[in-house]
Subunit: 344 residues, 2 copies
DNA sequence: TTGAAAGCGCTACCAA
DNA sequence: TTGGTAGCGCTTTCAA
């Protein structure tokens, strides 16, 4: 697809050069300073209505667009909030959160930019981000180390906020402790009388950040109760699920926490196909409270996560930018509550 | 959540200023020129090994990170490829595509940046993008008009590529013609003897870009055949689906194309709950070929879309950047093929 | 092999 | 009310 014969890098026609504020000034018959005053409506200076009009007119005619790099170079700072673009496919929950956050930061007059960091690990990525001199950096996940934070701060970032399982020296942290998710799920299963509990651990790489703590929380929930937790590696494919379902009788489990709703759907289907009755033989619970859980039969029990609102996070960023001297804040922002439906 | 008392914007301790190449030069006891030569290992100039070491050492010690804005200001161009961050929640298919594209462009040494454009309509957004002086702009959807393309090109973008239903004057176009999806789906239903065919149209705003052409294609597929197509507005909630299922007998439909797999799952569940047998009474087909379709019972028929590979698109961008004079290319990149399973 | 200096586009200070 | 101009950080000639 998209097959086009290679055209040699031709001597392209000299592209009509990009208009600058000097061009606008020339056309309007004023100085560059005046152009700047008019286009930014600098309140400290009063410019006659006639001049204003001439400048605007000239700018429009030339299709003038200010040069952000030049501006922020001069100003010594930008309003750019940078975050890495997620490298792994990430759920609808997270997407919605990012959207809301972008909107909220936009309201506060920041420009949000997702940097397509490819195959740069941790602190190398931080360098690439630092080159853009963002005023704040928002990093989901656990990739950023203290070194990275330092690079960013030394290159002028007034706020570094991590959003994940742990906190990093020098950075604000929004702790999303997925332990609570696993804990809530398994505590629920235990409360309903289940004692031999499986916990699905996705084989997909990149999900360990979430799956590990969920498993840990699951274990912690039944510590010293005599109940047993078994980790169940599972790839997100039917074959893998069928295989797991095949050895189900041998496993002797009476309940399973399936990492999230999607893996739950996958496994539940395989179990049902293998003749396992849900919840009679095995109770199933997912996580993330996706729509699809409600559409399954039996309806899927799940763990609902209370994420912070994008607005709250935007305000934290704004606060941090305005007062970079303040102590890094650490907040735990992941409330987890079980939504009990029919599968457990 | 995240409730912290407002700290007044305190006079923050003067942040230790960001090191520049001049600082590195000073510390290394060389000129700024030399620093630049060393750090970019300019091949045109030969620098003594001793000097190199001193410069690197100094840079490391200061935590020097070059200033991208200053660099590209001087250079007169950047290697930034800009795309708007999706404003609406978008499916896993698209996400995977974006990831692959980012990776491929990264390989070609471009920096991909997703701009969080909030609530700027069409050509206003284009202005915001133009301020960053990207070397190329990639716009999914139908938001960009000829004006927008013009603004971008006049401000130095060497390539503008749209990725959606139509092509825009002056821009390269990757035509994703969703008509073919609707056409394939409904032609399939017709071939299987269905004559009264419903087509789900999501009520969610922002999806019209896709749903309209899918509906049009559906209509076209049975034009002049005597078969009938009925548009069925549906919101992505159980209630809405239940309502629709409730009036199903009155509609007298023997088949439905459900926009995509997720809406198909929603509707199929509601229909089954209402006692409609699938596919006996009503055949159902979705689109996008998501995993979940295979997990439904009956297994969901769907329309698989052949998207271009991220690598192909990255190469198109690269070609366009290197030869901005070339005629804009237009490619149709959406192949649609029916995956027949049990629901139809 | 290294340094001095011009200049990318912009804003803000100081003069006029 | 407007203009001249310095300088943000960087690269790249041209000279030494």
């Amino acid at each position: 697809m998209v097959q086009i014969p290679n055209t040699p890098p031709s001597a392209s026609p000299a592209p009509r050069s990009v208009p600058t504020s000097a061009d606008v000034a020339r056309l309007a018959g004023v100085s560059r300073a005046t152009v700047s005053y008019v286009l930014n409506n600098t309140s400290a200076v009063r410019i006659s209505e006639a001049t204003r009009r001439r400048v605007h007119e000239a700018a429009r005619e030339l299709g003038y667009v200010p040069h952000a790099a030049a501006r922020s170079l001069r100003a010594g700072h930008s309003r750019m909030v940078l975050m890495p673009a997620p490298a792994i496919p990430v759920g609808p929950l997270y997407n919605a959160f990012i959207n809301e956050l972008q909107w909220a930061l936009g309201r506060l007059d920041y420009t949000v930019v997702q940097h397509g960091t490819v195959a740069l690990r941790g602190d190398e990525a931080a360098r690439a981000w630092a080159e853009l001199r963002p005023v704040a950096v928002l990093v989901p996940g656990a990739g950023l180390g203290p070194q990275g934070v330092d690079v960013l701060k030394r290159s002028g970032a007034r706020a570094v906020v991590t959003l994940g399982p742990g906190s990093v020296e020098g950075a604000h942290a929004l702790l999303m402790d997925h332990t609570t998710v696993g804990h809530a799920a398994v505590a629920h299963l235990y409360a309903r009388g289940r004692r031999r509990i499986g916990v699905v651990v996705p084989e997909e790489t990149g999900l360990d950040t979430f799956s590990r703590p969920r498993l840990d929380g699951a274990r912690a929930a039944v510590q010293d109760t005599g109940a047993e937790v078994t980790a169940l590696p599972l790839a997100y494919e039917e074959r893998s699920a069928a295989r797991l379902a095949g050895r189900w009788p041998g496993l002797g489990l009476d309940a399973v926490f399936a990492y999230n709703d999607e893996y739950a759907m996958l496994l539940m289907r395989a179990l049902q196909d293998a003749g396992v009755r849900i919840p009679a033989d095995t109770a199933v619970i997912g996580a993330d409270d996706l729509m699809l859980g409600r559409l399954l039969r039996p309806r899927l029990s799940t763990v609902h996560m209370d994420l912070p609102s994008g607005r709250d996070l935007a305000e934290l960023v704004d606060r941090a930018v305005r007062d970079p001297g303040a102590e890094p804040e650490t907040h735990t922002i992941l409330g987890a509550s079980v939504v009990h439906r029919e599968s457990s």
